[in-house]
Amino acid sequence: MGSSTSAPHRFAFQNAEHAFKAAALIQRWYRRYMARLEMRRRCTWSIFQSIEYAGQQDQVKLHDFFSYLVDHFTPRNHNERDFLNRMFTEERFAQDSEMEKSSDFESIEVPDSYTGPRLSFPLLPDQATALVEAFRLKQQLHARYVLNLLYETRKHLAQLPNINRVSTCYSEEITVCGDLHGQLDDLIFIFYKNGLPSPERAYVFNGDFVDRGKESVEILMVLFAFMLVYPKEFHLNRGNHEDHMVNLRYGFTKEVLHKYKTHGKKILRTLQDVFCWLPLATLVDEKVLVLHGGISDRTDLEFLAKLDRHKIVSTLRCKMRKESTKQEEEKKTANQPSSAQEPTPWFLPQSRSLPSTPFHLRPDKAHRAGRSCSIPCPGALDRQELSRHARRSVDLELERCRQQAGFPGIKESEEPSPLASGPDPESGELLEPTQEEWRQVVDILWSDPMAQEGCKANTVRGGGCYFGPDVTQQLLERYSLQLLIRSHECKPEGYEFCHNRKVLTIFSASNYYEVGSNRGAYVKLGPSLTPHIVQYQANKGTHLLTMRQRISRVEESALRALRKKLFAHSSDLLDEFKKHDADKTGIISLSDWAAAVESVLHLGLPWRMLRPQLVNSSTDNMLEYKTWLESLAKEQLSRENIQSSLLEKLYRNRSNLETIFRIIDSDHSGFISLDEFRQTWKLFSSHMNIDISDDCICDLARSIDFNKDGQIDINEFLEAFRLVEQSCSEGRDSACPQSTDTSDGGPSSPDPH
């Protein structure tokens, strides 16, 4: 027990203590570092998501508006009528033109020089496999085979029920995949990792095969081919993107027209039909329900199983059958009152209470307005009363728009409604779905789960509901189910359980927002129906990056998209900033900045957390807002010959504009007349409260170098936007109009790499 032995011990003890403390310090520091990274990742995620959903909302709003226009607008003359007809008429394949369809592809010749895959029907398994391989090698399938395949697909789909039933007795395992969104790499990866479809290996693809990614066509070809080859084991559910109206905006239409210049229109028409024939859901072992979006508290599987799904061409527009007043009365008593709130169309007054001032009700309008869509029908009030009231205010709104757009006022004429875009129901043809049918389908294709109990309108997306754990429980109990598998939402890990593990979201498009943004996943079910998840990220590059680098890359991309959005709202932002700057000092606090930005953009983002990345010119927590806005503009603009404010407005509405163009250009020729462009712009801008004079439009037209014959090449017009976009991200140089590549639009789509 001498001190000579205790000293080394003491020393060792102190050393150990030091090491312990040092390690603890490093760990403490490191954990904080990682936490901050995580916070950045979450914020980045919200940016992408909120921009995406805002775009979807816009889309729905736009089409709601157009639908209303169709129902209520009375063109005064031939020209107006034709113009609107062209804008709004949906092209539908008549049911009986089988002959026409088969001659659609048979007459198409395939040149000898074509080296891509050739298909013969009935399709054999190795042909399907060969397709995958061909696409992996970046070959393109000839239009003739595309159409042939679509023709056979349609025939097959038409005899499937709305709800497919699969059993694990036959194929021992079933793999369910979620959204692919045109990302062929992910599909190829899934087949590589999980195995190709076979009688022993069943697959269910849960919708959203197309849009946003660049290989939607190829994905469809592969999926349809395997479905024809293994009809009992390979199943497809419809997603909200299997919809030609949605495709107009999100890139699929563009992709088809670009890849198939001669036959693209035919392909699109055929696809429109094929999409309507896709089944709505799949039931595994009568226990696991697989559908794309979600459910609502009104979801009725028996009803869904019986309806004619083919009638629902697009979930974005609903047209009711024109019914006599008597029928409407009967229907009113037969209908159960809705417990879920319907989203109020955005152009009706926001409050659910009726407007107090009585407006003049035009008797002819009331009659004609027997058919309409998206009007909420709360059970308590008298349905017709409400409709009448609601329509009065809409009429007023519409009249205002018309006047602003320069159309003459409506005369109380006896003209019958000119825009009966469906056949006269009295003749017996019922090609339109009922309101209830439409709603049931929208619910299962658009809804999202939420943590709170209950069921409320999905205002973020503009369609469907948010459904709570109680709604899930109710449905599972009612139909003796044990699990609901859905997709529709991107998740960082590619999947997510919720509602007490009763709902599984599965999302199969990895790197959806940006390289490194998220994993993809698929789920396997064996006879025990225990879900087994497999994750992946189809990009070698990301594995080599550290988490920090991955997050930085994705973050940069998100911030770029966000800055674009901020720029697009520069005028509104300036107004809002000025409100916080009563003394006109030109300076506001960062706190006020955050409040102002949110009130203009409505993205629900954590602006204070994002502030350091968006504002680097502040001192003492104060910001010179004009300078900041100017710096935003500098980033986005390069061509001084285009007025910045005009550009800003057009920029903001770019997606809408493109969609409108494509709607006008209903024969997909790529051209619309200058006049049509102006008329549309006026109508559109008056409703969107955009204030641009006719002269400005003409100036813009001139500066974008339209053809002298008064025709606008849509692509040229959109190129101009891409040019600005591109030259801004590159820095300085003005790229000459010919030298652009064909990258897709959309704020958050990554450049091809």
Partner: protein, 163 residues
């Protein structure tokens, strides 16, 4: 003078409240003013604090419900977090202190730690890393050629990256 500093303090508290709310909302997925308890550490750390795991557990105990639900409510979190910020608790670690910590572990005074040494210290000493945490740190810290970490360079890199 007392009322001035009172006003100042109010302004500071108001500012803290907004910061805390923003950070909280990032994880409040269902917009019902609750977050999963497992995210509390991230929230607290992103607000500028650098607590140890032990200190974190104590904080969580303060904001948890009497019968823990797995969720933390904003109403309970706000006052506790505000106090933490006002008292400037759990201050971040300055660069030089961090450097000295590494130097302590570098018993041979090489200027670097081998991969094995780093793993040993981080997973056996202090408040040990999980395997995931260890792997993540290694991926960024270790120079694959020498299989070691030059901690001075590493610290510099991390600090720059943060800013």
């Amino acid at each position: 003078r007392a009322s001035e500093s009172e006003g100042e303090k109010e302004a500071i508290v108001a500012d803290f409240h907004k910061k805390i709310k923003d950070a909280f909302e990032v994880f409040d997925h269902e917009s019902n003013n609750t977050v999963d308890v497992r995210e509390i550490g991230t929230i607290i750390r992103s607000l500028g604090c650098c607590p140890t795991e032990g200190e974190l557990h104590d904080l969580i105990a303060e904001v948890e419900e009497e019968e823990p639900t797995g969720f933390i409510r904003y109403e309970k979190f706000l006052p506790v977090m505000t106090k933490v910020l006002l008292e400037r608790k759990y201050r971040p670690i300055p660069e030089d202190v961090l450097l000295r910590a590494f130097e302590v572990l570098d018993t041979a005074k090489h200027g670097f730690l081998t991969k094995e040494e780093l793993i040993k210290y981080m997973t056996e000493e202090g408040e040990p890393f999980s395997q995931e945490e260890m792997e993540e740190m290694l991926s960024a810290a270790i120079d694959p050629e020498s299989n070691s970490i030059n901690y001075k360079e590493y610290i510099t890199m991390m600090v720059i990256d943060e800013n």
